[in-house]
């Protein structure tokens, strides 16, 4: 009896071997492997919340998240009919245009304002999907460590439209190694291991604004001298030219139980809009002090002086401004006769 082996030709044998090899290669190629989490396409910041709940919650509290929806912004931009506002209030990803380059506007998801995607999403073709502080090729968002995220040039793509980063460059803070994130994105609980706070507090945080300046007043003969010094803002006070303003008011001190009279306006710190040709720029640069002299018969008695801060520049009734109702008090000092 012929053996089975002898009955098959060499050619058939080779065929079986090749088939076996093919099967092995196929198994190797398509074998189940422990794959990293599937890479995701990011179309909304909501997608970030699942893994980054703390950061997302902080961002939701931030004014970056309200960059589009805030009624003041809507009004001052004429419901964004002033299209030059859209670029920074609903920007496409910074990394798409490049750090140091002007951002471009988006036409969808605008209500998310300056969101996770604006700052973290990398351009197509980059090594990863998002910019972060750590590399993790197994994470769904494929983060790549990018130092640019913490550099002033990064913030500058928007904030230098209002010259804030330029003002910082002209101060002593760059030489001292103090940059935007040190004040506006401090480490959580001061611990670098806990990452940076994403509430990004700034001009809406009255305590932070208060800590930026000092306010004093003295008498000089018959004159009254109020002084504001920019002691801690790394840029002009106030910055964000045009929209913000700070005003010095004074009035005779009311006796106990009496209603004080109306505030009298003395000075305004503000950079004007383009159309306000009759106004001059009075922002107070970092480290500078400005003295305002008040000469008035009524100021010779006991008086109170206050420094108020406004998020929007206009008064309801410019002839009779009501800072108590329309502005926020930074400092109040009193002077005896």
């Amino acid at each position: 009896m012929e053996s089975a082996v002898s009955r098959i030709s060499l050619r058939q044998f080779s065929g079986f071997v090749l088939l076996g090899l093919g099967a092995a290669v196929t198994f190797f190629v398509f074998r189940p492997v422990e794959a990293p989490a599937e890479s995701r396409v990011f179309t909304s910041s909501d997608q970030c919340a699942a893994c980054h709940a703390t950061v997302f919650a902080e961002w939701q509290q931030s004014w970056h998240s309200r960059a589009w929806e805030d009624p003041d912004v809507q009004a001052l931009s004429n419901d964004f009919a002033n299209t030059d506002c859209i670029d920074c209030h609903a920007p496409r990803p910074v990394f798409e245009t490049g750090v140091g380059q002007r951002v471009l506007p988006r036409s969808s998801r605008r209500a998310e304002g300056v969101d996770c995607i604006s700052c973290h999403l990398l351009a197509e073709g980059a090594r990863g999907t998002v910019a972060g502080t750590l590399e993790d090729s197994a994470a769904a968002c494929r983060p790549v460590a990018m130092r640019e995220l913490a550099q002033p040039e990064f913030c500058g793509v928007c904030h230098d439209q209002h010259k804030t980063v330029q003002q910082w460059r002209e101060s002593s803070y760059p030489a001292a190694g103090v940059s935007c994130v040190d004040c506006h994105m401090p480490f959580r609980n001061g611990d670098p291991n806990q990452g940076r706070n994403h509430t990004m507090h700034g001009g809406h945080d009255i305590e932070l604004v208060r800590s930026a300046v000092s306010f004093t007043a003295r008498r000089d003969g018959s004159k009254l001298v109020a002084a504001v010094e920019n002691v801690a803002a790394g840029h002009h006070f106030p910055t964000d030219e045009r929209s913000r303003a700070a005003d010095i008011f004074w009035r005779p001190l009311a006796a106990a139980g009496e209603t004080p009279g109306p505030w009298r306006w003395a000075y305004r710190f503000r950079s004007p809009y383009r159309h306000e040709v009759d106004l001059v720029d009075t922002l107070l640069p970092a480290h500078e002090k400005r003295e305002v002299v008040i000469e008035d018969e009524a100021a010779r008695g006991a008086i109170e002086l206050s420094l108020f801060y406004k998020i929007t520049p206009y008064w309801k009734d410019p002839a009779h401004p009501d800072p108590d109702a329309e502005a926020r008090l930074l400092y109040r000092v009193t002077l005896e006769p």
């Binding site: 929806e69 009624p71 809507q74 009004a75 299209t83 036409s107 969808s108 230098d160 439209q161």
Partner: protein
């Protein structure tokens, strides 16, 4: 490339071998603006003469000449002006000195302005325009604008148009509008309309009215409002002979286009304003700029064409081609909508359904609403499907509101007015427009609802609503829509 991807790629290559896959047409990008400016050359820069001290004797003579002009009913006026003309630009430093000297009498300063206008040279007009832009004295600005009327230096038209944007003195605005019209540009007529409707004094109202009427008569149009409408829809320029475009003006325009790439968005916005207020010949340079390698320039060029709207209809085919350039596509889509370019409906519908770029899809949805073609209802309905991204659904819903205002669309937009992190104001505006158009079609049913809708905005004119006021208004209006308006939809 991993082994797995290599094998898959090889299999796909074998499997698909010989089949040509359809590629989208390539939209060519190249350097456009820099070569154009190089071709136009640096031009003649108005001489910035050093402020040399004027010899006392000459100063005396010039002052007496200006004094002659400052005297009312001086019979020597023409002779004096001719004398100044014969000295060409040599007297400019002196005239600028008199003009800016607040110690001089208004008559002397006015006379200096008159001479600058009469000289009508690039340098003299530069002095007038610079003063117009920087002076804080409204009467000086008004005088400068008045004396610019009839000057022939067309290269200053962009700056005159920009000044019109910022001018707060109504009388100056009237002269600026006249001046632009003298250079063949009627963009200022809209400014005259604003002065007529809002001026502080009856004299200014009359002045604006008079000028609107005279410009209309000169253009062969019945009245000022018609003139304005014809300018805005492009029909006026189709009727009138095209204005001469000097090389200097062309250079200024290309410089404006170049500035669209500037860092400062206020500079960009000013240039967009100028470019969209220019005459229709501006469409050609903007169409060329769509091909510019610099992404900022090409996107802002598309935005300018969008703002030109019907006046830029010539750019329709070029914008259609620009839909193939991914970074330009959303802006091109918006522009095609504004142009009313109905041939764009098909590619926009295709983008709406198939593009991977949410920005492009959203822009396409809004553009289709502006084009208002019946054929777009079905693709817009697909984009409105619940599975789609919420922003895309909203854009589709706002467009459907103009085309096919069904209950689900109205209800969805009312929801968007109160949902967190939505374009609530956009939804509110769309519903407001829908109520207004519904009232026109069916006043009996929609007039009371529209009245109530308008009454819910309690913010005084010029006042900014607080967040609470805004949210209260949106909630009340959303409720009005769901409780009253929905029932009226047939």
């Amino acid at each position: 490339m991993s082994l797995r991807s290599a094998i898959l790629a090889a299999v796909l290559a074998v499997g698909c071998g010989g089949n040509e896959t359809a590629k989208p047409a390539v939209f060519e990008l190249r350097d456009v603006v820099a070569p154009k400016l190089a071709e136009l050359g640096p031009g003649e820069v108005p001489a910035a003469k050093p402020a040399e001290p004027i010899p006392a004797e000459q100063k005396e003579e010039l002052l007496s000449m200006v004094g002659a002009l400052a005297t009312p009913r001086n019979t020597m006026r023409d002779v004096v002006l001719e004398d100044f003309r014969s000295r060409k630009d040599a007297t400019l430093p002196f005239l600028a000195q008199v003009l800016n000297d607040t110690q001089q009498t208004p008559e002397f300063r006015s006379a200096a302005i008159e001479v600058l206008g009469a000289l009508d040279s690039p340098a003299s007009v530069e002095t007038l325009v610079a003063t117009l832009t920087t002076s804080r004295e409204p009467w000086i600005r008004s005088q400068c604008a008045w004396r610019l009327i009839g000057t022939k230096q067309t290269q200053f038209l962009p700056r005159i148009l920009l000044r019109l944007r910022y001018e707060t003195d109504e009388e100056t605005a009237v002269w600026l509008a006249d001046c632009a019209a003298g250079l063949g540009n009627y963009a200022g007529v809209d400014g005259l309309r604003v002065v007529r409707d809002r001026a502080r004094t009856p004299e200014l109202v009359a002045l604006a009215q008079e000028h609107m009427a005279s410009l209309a008569a000169a253009a062969g149009v019945s009245d000022g409002d018609t003139l304005n409408a014809l300018w805005l829809n492009g029909e006026l320029e189709a009727k009138l002979p095209p204005p001469a475009v000097s090389k200097d003006l062309e250079r200024q325009i290309w410089k404006c286009i170049q500035a669209l790439g500037e860092w400062d968005l206020r500079v960009v916005d000013d240039r967009r304003f100028i470019l969209t207020d220019m005459n229709a010949w501006i469409v050609d340079p903007l169409m060329q700029t769509l091909h510019e390698k610099n992404v900022y320039l090409r996107i802002h060029a598309a935005q300018c064409l969008q703002r030109l709207g019907l006046r830029a209809r010539k750019a329709g085919p070029e914008l259609l081609a620009a839909l193939n350039e991914p970074r330009l596509a959303p802006a091109a889509a918006s522009a095609l909508g504004a142009l009313g370019w109905t041939a764009a409906a098909e590619p926009l519908e295709s983008a709406l359904l198939n593009s991977r770029d949410l920005d492009y899809r959203t822009a396409a949805a809004r553009a289709l609403g502006t084009l208002a073609q019946e054929r777009s209802v079905k693709p817009l309905r697909s984009a409105f499907a619940p599975a789609q991204a919420a922003d895309l659904r909203q854009a589709a819903a706002e467009s459907l509101l103009a085309l096919d205002p069904s209950r689900d669309v109205v209800e969805f937009l009312a929801e968007r007015m109160t949902a967190p992190r939505t374009e609530a104001i956009s939804a509110e505006n769309a519903l407001g427009r829908w109520l207004a158009s519904s009232k026109k079609a069916e006043p009996a049913r929609f007039d009371p609802i529209l009245r109530e809708w308008l009454a819910l905005d309690t913010t005084a004119a010029g006042e900014i609503a607080t967040r609470e006021q805004l949210e209260a208004r949106l909630a009340a209006r959303a409720k009005l829509v769901t409780s009253r308006a929905l029932a009226e939809i047939r």
